[in-house]
Amino acid sequence: MSMVYDTEHPVPIPPIIWDNMGYWEGINRHELVFQRCKECGTWRHPPRPVCPKCRSFEKEWTPSTGKGAVYSWVTYQESPHPGFKAPYSVVLLEMEEGVRLVSNMVDIKPEEISIGMPVEVVFEDIAEGLTLPKFRKVG
């Protein structure tokens, strides 16, 4: 199963500001990108203006392999908000680039999720103007 949204209670579309523009532009063309420091090559996410390793403000939006593994996860049997149909799980992923990402799994039951499970990105068009990166089990 996958996350089911209730269109009566839509997720607000994140406003695009300078720091996050490249991220959502990538998602909208179905490409997962993260910020990478131009000086020292350190990856970071969520996007922010400066590299915490070398303090450089020079960065580029760099494609991710889209591959990672489950680091932790939680499951709601009853939804905390009418916008999301329960049961659903939220996963915290560690991507190959070393950054962490909050998302949902597709085509899997909550009880089948486990720590270290390898995953890869898929893109879901949730609503007009909102696409999200989701993940499916690999292999």
């Binding site: 209670h9 997720v11 049997q77 905390p80 950054v99 909050v102 999200l132």
Partner: protein, 390 residues
Amino acid sequence: MNNLKDKVAIVGLGWTRFSTNSGVSVKNLALESCKNAIDDAGLTVKDVDGIATYNIGDSVSPYVVATGLGLPELRWNIEYFAGANGATSTLLTAACAIIGGLADTVLVFRAMNGRTGTRLGGAGMSLNTTGIEQYCVPYGLTTFPQAVAMVARRHMIKYGTTSHQMGAVALTCRENAILNERAVVRSPLSIEDHQNSKMIVDPLRLYDCCQETDGACAVLITSADRAKDLRHSPVYLMSGTHGAGWQSGEFFGKTTAFWPEWDELSETYARTMASELYGKAGITSKDVDVAELYDCFTIEPIVQLEDFGFCEKGEGGAFVESGAVRRDGHLPMNTHGGLLSEGYIHGFNHVLEGASQLRGDAGARQIKDAEIALVTGYCGPVANAVILRR
């Protein structure tokens, strides 16, 4: 090195009734708790010249309290926008203001209608994707319990911590709450009750979650010199810390917080700062007689017991299950019932309980010969705690 050890003391304690429906405004609660703290110290509003508080926009400012109680002059104040990283650090900041000469006698309070007003657990809040939330909320990670459930899961996987062991935290708190007339929940709780309670966000069950509460509490603090001649024996501040580690993450606003960048969710910044906390107090964890540990959810005291050095990393669950933190164990914990059973006043009620135990006036729940207390606020990628002594 500058050190605040024993320079400031808690001299007055004030509570309101704790309930799930106060029937009064947050302003009323704030004023009542502050008045009670002044009365308890045997002082008057003329003696008070500073006020400090923390909140998330759900409470009243120091100016409201100063005006309401008719303080002649408010020489210093601070209103800190904070989650439970404010629980002990607001007290610490106020103590620094006294040491720095900004004020002589300061009220520190937390007031909230946490059940009938703004519910910090996130219930009833609208979805927000404007800030850092845009990387969590669209996936249904909307509330603080989920963030802590991620921590619990990680601890369970890494160290084999069990739901039973988290249940032992809830039971320990409830046993203490039964002795506490102020506690909002005083009915006996069994491990079966815990295990059969509904899953809120797997792996956290209903009885792993604290009590949404209406209420307020306040302490009055002053210099050690002034404290000597007042009604109660002073409770001295030995040390305190409040900080964050490398890549602690960007905390969110009102609705939730999460810290995906923190290197290991099952550890807290207390792992680093505890040595400074104990060092400045001139003690070790072995000298602590009572521990009032922030317990918004049952996993939190388990992780803190490890990171504050009471047991080895990963053994917090077994330590609680052994009975070590029950009132007859060697480290009585959350002697008032904690946030899990006394009530959730955003952790500030832990400060009052620590002080009450050290004064020796905790009544039926008094721990004999308690001399030193560790009081903590929320610990994750951030941490805050104080050590108090009689």
